[in-house]
Amino acid sequence: MQQAIAEHVPSGAMVLLGSQLEQMIPFSAGHELIRQGRRDLTLVGPISDILFDQMIGAGCVSRVMAAWVGNVSAGLGHCLRRAVEQNIPRAVQMVDYSNFTLALGLHAGAMGVPFMPTYSTMGSDLLKKNGNLREFPSPVNEEKLIAVRALRPDVAVIHAQRADAQGNTHLWGNLGVAVDGARASRKVIVVAEEIVAPEIISSDPNRTLIPGFLVSAVVHEPWGAHPSPVQGYYGRDHAYFSQYHEQSRKLEDFEAWLKRWVLGVADRRAYVEQLGACRSESLGVKEHAYSAPADFGF
């Protein structure tokens, strides 16, 4: 992970994180960005369940292009509020989207066109304030529509269940904006719970959502998404989200939290050790539920 982040994500980069919403959030990548002291990042994502809040609190971020930033089960993001309301630790510019319009921006990028049309955001102040949303007359009828400008992040970090060494990636569960996000981005870092043989991937080509030729780096990082869930690998650590909510309310508490869980740990392995065996055991899969096979034979 250190190497992938060092090579592919410079300060000032536009980075897509959290493409699968509350599932498979690449916390380990975000924490490595904090440890490597990145600055002036533009964070892109539909919703962010505390990772953006942590990176904002750590001072890595100068701009956020998102639909929702906070703590999904607990509420507000305290670091976001401090940054936007009091410029602590630094000012952050908010470019407010809705989930759909953010997804359409990435879809336009993935399809190689300058925009996508929609009816959403009409009459809202998102439309008034976000320069990447613009009203225009439909070229095929009398309606007016909203053009969502294409988004092309510099890097997308996608957490997935499994990938092969070339980066051909199997992803399942709710996909959010991961597929378009990977294609729209100039580089893709895949963080996988498991690295598998190419034969596993090609045994089910319909589950390959990111072809390897789009991928710049593949990182094998078990538990890399904790405290968010990875279907089939571990559940959501609800208590961790509530604890973060309390421990980020005051600035000094957040700084202590950051030292304890990010700056004070060398890498994900150390993080998982600190989490403790019984915590990770309690989050592990209790009952497997395997997909019915599909036959690709002839």
Binding site: P46, G77, N99, S120, G176, H238
Partner: protein, 258 residues
């Protein structure tokens, strides 16, 4: 399932009221938080044929077996009918196929416009989480149901920022913006009652919760709220509704909050 259910709390009353906004067989865009529980209650009581759409890309014909803290919790994926991309479900929403969508809000105004982006406290601007899918649902679903706490700071004459459009400034406004003909706010479920909307898009008090007085509702609303001639009392959760809530959410994670 307790024989004599303990008296229901306000949260349970709101969840029950929300679940009744879902009709059997409808396509429901299920929002964050309380609505996730309301959908399960509807599915397991009066609306077994309802289908749930979640903005992260999930479609469910069966309710999740466990309490959901977020819509991407593993129990919401296991046994789902469909898992795909956000655009898959948003496309169905934009096609006009979704009957009802649920939203939370920090502020709602006289015409049902919602603000979840910029708040204010002691004259200072405060930052809220933002739209999520709320603006999309408010623009594109046929009916929209809002849940929030009843309080002068939250039920305001005019929201400072329209995150999710309601009826704007009233009659004809949505069409003038270009929004779909069959769309707009249907109900606002608060901690004191249920507001509905006149044909010209203004909110009025349609029912009050048990033990709440109309004058208290009016005094805790920032504008002169109209009251229905046929004002009713919000009916309390049935034993069946409570049984589902307490089975799924025994610690009252969602229903205790208010």
């Amino acid at each position: 399932m307790p024989a004599r259910p303990e008296p229901s709390g306000l949260g349970e009353l709101m969840v029950a009221a929300a679940s009744r906004e879902i009709r059997d067989g409808e396509l429901v865009f299920v929002g964050m938080r309380l609505p996730m529980l309301a959908f399960v209650v509807a599915k397991r009581t009066h609306a077994p044929g309802a289908i749930g759409l979640y903005e992260n890309g999930i479609i469910r014909e069966t309710p999740a077996a466990e309490l959901l803290y977020t819509m991407a919790d593993p129990p919401n994926l296991l046994g789902a009918t469909f898992c795909g991309q956000m655009l898959d479900v948003m496309g169905l929403l934009q096609q006009g196929r979704v009957d009802v969508g649920f939203l939370g809000a920090a502020e709602v105004d006289r015409f049902g416009n919602l603000n979840t982006t910029w708040g204010h406290r002691e004259g200072k601007i405060t930052r809220l989480p933002g739209s999520g899918g709320a603006c999309d649902i408010a623009c594109l679903s046929r009916r929209t149901v809002v849940l929030l706490e009843h309080d002068r700071k939250r039920l305001v004459e005019r929201v400072a920022h329209i995150t999710s459009p309601g009826f704007g400034s009233g009659d004809g406004w949505r069409r003038a913006q270009g929004l779909p003909a069959r769309s707009g706010p249907s109900a606002v479920i608060t901690t004191m009652g249920v507001l509905r909307f006149t044909s010209d898009g203004e909110a009025f008090l349609a029912s009050i919760h048990p033990g709440v007085r109309v004058e208290d509702v009016l005094s805790r609303t920032d504008w002169t709220l109209r009251v229905a001639d046929d004002l009713t009392e919000t009916s309390a959760p049935t034993a069946a509704e409570l049984a589902v809530m307490r089975e799924i959410d025994p610690d009252r994670f969602w229903t205790k909050q208010r």
